[in-house]
């Protein structure tokens, strides 16, 4: 299991999550958890995904997500889960 946290921030509209999920489906990335909050018209979404079957590098993932984000007008970031675990769990 190679757990990575995807965060998405931006102005909410239809099709945002679909665009991200499509990319994941095409690239063998399994979604383990999704949570989302919408404050006024802004969406904050977090996903935990498994990259163990993903064939490309982390750098490519990051660049691809930039492109997907650009298309739907939001910012999408990928980060290893460890940084959050280290900071918030003893």
């Amino acid at each position: 299991m190679n757990r990575t946290v995807i965060t998405l921030v931006g102005k909410d509209h239809t099709g945002i999550i679909a665009a991200v999920c499509n990319y994941f489906a095409e690239n063998d990335i399994n979604i383990l958890d999704i949570s989302q909050t919408t404050v006024q018209e802004f969406i904050n979404m977090m996903m935990i995904v498994d990259l163990s079957k993903y064939r490309k590098s982390f750098k490519e993932l990051s660049e691809d997500l930039d492109k997907v984000g650009e298309k739907v007008g939001v910012s999408i970031k990928a980060q290893h889960e460890d940084i959050f675990d280290m900071m918030h769990r003893i």
């Binding site: 989302q36 909050t37 982390f58 750098k59 970031k77 940084i83 959050f84 918030h88």
Partner: protein, 454 residues
């Protein structure tokens, strides 16, 4: 399972509060490079650094990308060059050749600094130490990426006043050599009392002789994160204030611990220590002075500042110690003037004086740092400033340092511009009463009574 608010809290720290890993510094032992032939020595040094640290920059960048946290600096520290060059160097220029070799190696591997053009003379100077010290002005002029440090005293040994006197002159000469750039050379030169062997921060990083072959030390940073956290507890009592700083320092240090372990694994170099120091940059919101001001000071330098800094330094340590098993280096709060825009602003308006900064160094992690002083300050006065700071370190059993920049051709009230992370600063007035008869006495100040613990 992670909560969404935790994830966004971390990312807000990175995106809007300037949380970053300030430096991954690889310490490299050069003792096995020693040769009595200078050409061979330089070749050995170049080969060892460029082999050992060849992947340092790339690895730092990869880790930064994968964890989503900027790793600002990738650096190398080496065994003090006065030891490495002792067998081969007969002249000052011989030592400058080693500096140029280090410069070449720094450019090859892409690090932004190599530290360790250093001499440890807390009890006395060998002829090689003296040659290296005398070569510093030329070496710092001839190179861009080399940092120099000289240890002048310790609680165990006392203070080598001959070296203190000499360094007053060397600081001035270095300023002269780089006078076209507002005496920038002095920004790469620091003197220490009780230096640490594993400090990852420049200009004072060197790889101590008791260290292993190579080691990864990491300096975290996060003044902006601490300031934001403190701003949220305005008006609350000291218990709440301390608790807030401690919790924040814990979170910041854990990130450093993660990055350090990862870098150590990927580079196959043992992990040494995390340095907890809060290191400011000239960017707005990345400032120690702003933390002090958020604690309730109208401006940094106002009465109460030393107490506030003492609280900050202590709580940062308490939070950080819990977050990492190996804490070392300087670990506290840095109070440079030019590198911290709110600090420079306070100096400019007269809220912060050199004397108040000296008092603050009694409770912070380092010392008089990045302070621009008038270019006509006499060598002996600079030696006096150094002696004061060394005495504070020696008596209080802590690391202290001096990195002052006599800006040649400029007077108190004018401005010095160093550029980039080094920032800019007003030139602060220095007490004009002399101390030449004191610093010219020569010899050593004996170790203090509390050093006799055997």
């Amino acid at each position: 399972m992670l909560e969404i608010n935790e994830v966004f809290e971390t990312n807000a720290m990175i995106a809007s509060e300037n949380l970053d890993v300030r430096t991954i510094t690889m310490g490299i032992n050069l003792l096995d490079c020693i040769d009595s032939d200078l050409d061979k020595l330089c070749e050995n040094i170049y080969n060892k650094i460029t082999t050992r640290a060849k992947d340092l920059v790339r690895t730092g960048d990869e880790i930064g990308l994968e964890f989503g946290i900027p790793v600002i600096n990738k650096r190398v520290s080496v065994t003090p060059i006065a030891l490495i060059g002792a067998a081969a160097c007969r002249t000052e220029d011989d030592f400058v050749r080693i500096a140029e070799t280090l410069e070449k190696a720094a450019c090859k591997i892409g690090v932004n600094f190599i530290g360790g053009y250093s001499a440890l003379v807390q009890k006395g100077m060998s002829s090689a130490d003296r040659l290296l010290i005398n070569s510093i002005p030329k070496a710092l002029k001839a190179t861009d990426h080399i940092c120099s440090s000289v240890s002048l005293g310790s609680t165990k040994t006392g203070i080598d006043m001959d070296a203190v006197r000499l360094m007053g002159t060397i600081v001035k000469k270095t300023a002269m050599e780089t006078k076209d750039q507002d005496s920038l050379g002095c920004a790469k030169l620091v003197v220490f009392c009780n230096p640490t062997d594993d400090n990852p921060f420049m200009a004072g990083a060197f790889h101590g002789v008791t260290e292993g072959d190579a080691v990864i030390n990491v300096g975290v940073s996060g003044p902006g994160v601490v300031k934001t956290a403190i701003s949220k507890v305005k008006g609350e009592n000291f218990e709440v204030l301390c608790e807030t700083i401690k919790k924040t320092a814990f979170k910041v240090t854990r990130v450093g611990q993660l990055v350090a372990k990862e870098a150590s694994k990927r580079l196959d170099v043992p992990f040494g220590i995390i340095d907890l120091s809060l290191a400011p940059t000239p960017a707005v919101g990345d400032s120690i002075a702003e933390i002090i001001q958020a604690m309730g000071m109208e401006r940094v330098g106002a009465p109460g500042t030393t107490a506030a800094l003492a609280i900050l330094n202590d709580q940062v340590k308490k939070g950080g110690i819990m977050a990492s098993s190996y804490v070392g280096g300087l670990s506290g709060a840095f109070i440079p003037v030019s590198e911290d825009s709110a600090m420079a602003e306070a100096a400019e308006m007269g809220a912060l004086t050199l004397e108040k900064l000296e008092a603050m160094t009694c409770v912070c992690s380092v010392g008089l740092d990045m302070i621009a002083i008038p270019g006509d300050t006499p060598d002996t006065t600079i030696s006096g400033i150094i002696a004061d700071e060394m005495a504070i370190g020696m008596i209080n059993q802590k690391t202290t340092a001096v990195r002052v920049i006599p800006v040649i051709g400029k007077k108190a009230g004018e401005h010095a511009e160093f550029g980039g992370l080094l920032g800019s600063a007003p030139i602060m007035p220095v007490n004009t009463f002399g101390c030449a008869d004191f610093v010219d006495r020569g010899g050593r100040i004996p170790a203090p009574i509390h050093s006799f613990k055997n």
